[in-house]
């Protein structure tokens, strides 16, 4: 029999052996409350030259300052109760007392000015122009390109709508909560007379189209409709057309080259992504929106009701190839963006957490580029779940998926659905200096750390994540 004191010593040592590693990993996972995007994580130069960061402050990378805007919109954000037609009241966030907020429509080349005022949203707000390659200071990311706008204060966004297409806007402050509860809206550049808009959003399990629940009807704009589908949710959505065949004429704001007719297939709209369909509307057609009770009927009379087709349009081979306008073979930097998942702590909470290249937020790679670089990026997902990857300020073109080369119309995207066990290779030209978020647009995933950024040499930001404005972009 061991002596009591010896026994106590053994017990104390055994306790330390159990607690020390747990305490170490717990402590290491805590996220500082004040974090500069400039110094967080580690620099990844993608095989290009390493260089120090000094130079232009992001706040100088604005849209045109002096010109008179062609489109001027005033938006007031509130936390309040609003009505979902067909369903009832909902507590959430509005812009000018509606959710979705007012539709913003501009002609190509217009200078758009949005004055955003925060009436009473305690956490603060921002607006991000999803899919629009705006100058960096107008990008609306709290803690990176601006500070969150506190109650009673305003911020003015100004940018030229240089690319025609279907876009949307949403808060990028506490976005996993604010977007889901309604702070978003539609942005169309260069509308057509045939437009039908279908912005799909799920408020607390209630899926809506244009903010309305159930079977919604719109008049046919003519013999052919251009239906602009926008997925403002966190997960991918399959959409299909009952009663007609269709063409996919645009993806994420870029026209498809030589689209072919599709029938009996669904098309996937990535979370955050947009797809424009051209549909003959001589007879009434129904658009299935991921299943469930909410559908959109275009035209009068009965529209057929079908189920989700099993086959899907594959954008990798849809339409006809044409020159990209740059040569990805001449890439000056190549990055990998491996998405994994592991057991451990995240900000002190035990669980299963996302990793980027094996690292956990905030110790993630910062992808460093210089203006003019041709950049390749390989996005590989082994995390067990799908991730809609969204790079701000740029459009990327898909080169291959799982080693199969893209052969269709150039697939330019800003929101790419990367399924578990999929690998995409994409490329883009670094032509928009700034500090740009590159994150998962399943916003709760982003809040759990699946977020990093692309940073240009010679650009700095004075803003901090956390800090006194309490910037929480996700």
């Amino acid at each position: 029999m061991r002596s009591p004191s010896r026994r106590a010593l053994v017990a104390v040592v055994a306790t330390l052996v159990v607690l020390a590693p747990i305490g170490f990993f717990w402590q290491r996972s805590l996220i500082p409350n004040d974090l500069s995007p400039m110094t967080m994580g580690y620099a990844d130069y993608g095989g290009g030259p390493a260089s120090a960061h000094h130079g232009t402050d992001v706040s100088r990378l604005t849209g045109p300052v002096d010109q008179t805007p062609d489109v001027a919109v005033d938006l007031v954000a509130r936390e309040e109760r609003f009505d979902i037609p067909g369903r009832g009241p909902m507590d959430g966030y509005t812009l000018n007392h509606t959710s979705p907020g007012p539709r913003i429509v501009a002609k190509q080349g217009d200078l758009v000015q949005v004055t955003l005022r925060n009436e009473n949203v305690a956490d603060g707000i921002t607006l991000h122009w999803h899919g629009v390659d705006v100058p960096n200071a107008e990008d609306g990311v709290a803690g990176v390109t601006q500070d969150a706008i506190p109650p009673g204060k305003s911020f003015v966004y100004r940018f030229v709508a240089k690319d025609a297409g279907t876009y949307w806007y949403h808060s990028h402050q506490v976005s996993h909560e604010q977007v889901q509860k309604g702070m978003y809206g539609v942005l169309i550049v260069q509308p057509t007379a045939a437009d039908v808009i279908a912005a799909v959003h799920t408020y607390d399990k209630v899926r809506t189209v244009n903010g309305e629940y159930g079977e919604r009807r719109v008049r046919a704009p003519g013999p052919i409709a251009r239906v602009r589908l926008i997925n403002t949710d966190n997960g991918p959505m399959a959409i299909w057309v009952d009663g007609a065949s269709y063409k996919v004429v645009a993806v994420d704001g870029t026209e498809v080259n030589a689209p072919t007719e599709v029938s009996g297939k669904a098309v996937l709209v990535t979370a955050g992504g947009r797809v424009d369909l051209e549909i003959p509307t001589v007879k009434a057609v129904r658009i299935g929106l991921g299943g469930g009770p909410t559908t959109l009927v275009i035209g009068d009379g009965d529209a057929p009701t079908g189920g989700e087709p099993r086959d899907r349009v594959d954008l990798l081979s849809y339409g006809a190839a044409k020159p990209l306008g740059f040569d990805p073979v001449k890439a000056t930097r190549a990055f990998r963006y491996d998405i994994g998942r592991r057991i451990g702590f995240f900000d002190g909470k035990p669980g299963l957490w996302w990793t980027i290249n094996g690292h956990q937020y905030p110790d993630v790679p910062m992808f460093v580029v210089s203006e003019g670089d041709i950049v390749r990026m390989t996005i590989k997902n082994t995390s067990g779940q799908v991730h809609p990857m969204h790079l701000h300020g740029h459009h990327v073109v898909v080169l291959s998926r799982d080693g199969v080369r893209a052969t269709g119309s150039p697939w330019w995207t800003d929101s790419l659905n990367v399924e578990d066990k999929e690998t995409y290779e994409v490329a883009f030209v670094a032509d928009n200096p700034g500090i740009w978020m590159d994150h998962c647009h399943n916003l709760p995933h982003a809040a759990q750390g699946l977020v990093t950024h692309l940073m240009y040499t010679g650009v700095t930001t004075p803003h901090h994540l956390g800090g006194s404005p309490n910037n929480q972009p996700e």
């Binding site: 029999m1 009591p4 026994r7 106590a8 053994v10 017990a11 104390v12 055994a14 306790t15 159990v18 607690l19 747990i22 369903r87 889901q180 799920t202 607390d204 399990k205 209630v206 899926r207 629940y213 159930g214 949710d233 966190n234 997960g235 991918p236 979370a271 991921g290 299943g291 469930g292 009770p293 057991i343 909470k349 035990p350 669980g351 299963l352 067990g384 779940q385 799908v386 578990d420 399943n442 709760p444």
Partner: protein, 147 residues
């Protein structure tokens, strides 16, 4: 110390029961929601049942298992360390099975089965610390054992 050991082991057993109740609540809530016209997809937030299951499963039960292990070093329970290690191992296994189940749902059946093993082992551990300290111990150690 023996009574703390017993209480912790008992709490783990109760935790397992709470987990079974929470997960049933979670999925019946989903069924009801879908009947009411809600969608359930990647977009859906966890409901109360899911939330309880996550918090108890990834937070409270592992914490209790660690505490039980530490207490077992000090409490004079016959085979106490061994049984605390069994509990700890089954908790780790349970967490691992949950993780694996997201990729391969069939593993979820083992997650359910392992819950019964954990319940049983936690119950046995509690029983070992029931009653007074074993008479076989020397008087010196026996005095320190009653807490």
């Amino acid at each position: 110390m023996r009574s703390v050991y017993r209480a912790l082991a008992g709490l783990i057993a109760i935790g397992v029961l709470v987990q079974a109740m929470a997960i049933a609540l979670a999925w019946f809530t989903v069924i009801k929601d879908v009947d009411d016209g809600s969608v359930f997809s990647e977009n859906s937030d966890a409901n109360v049942g899911h939330m309880i299951h996550t918090i108890v499963g990834s937070g409270i039960i592992p914490l209790l298992a660690i505490l039980l292990l530490i207490i077992s070093f000090f409490a004079k329970v016959e085979g106490g360390v061994k049984w605390a290690l069994y509990v700890f191992g089954l908790v780790v296994l349970q967490f691992g099975l949950a993780v694996a189940s997201f990729g391969a749902p069939v593993v979820g059946a083992l997650h359910g089965l392992n819950a019964f093993a954990l319940l049983a082992v936690a119950g046995m551990a509690a029983r070992r610390a029931a009653g007074p300290a074993p008479a076989a111990e020397s008087p010196a150690t026996a005095t320190g054992a009653t807490t």
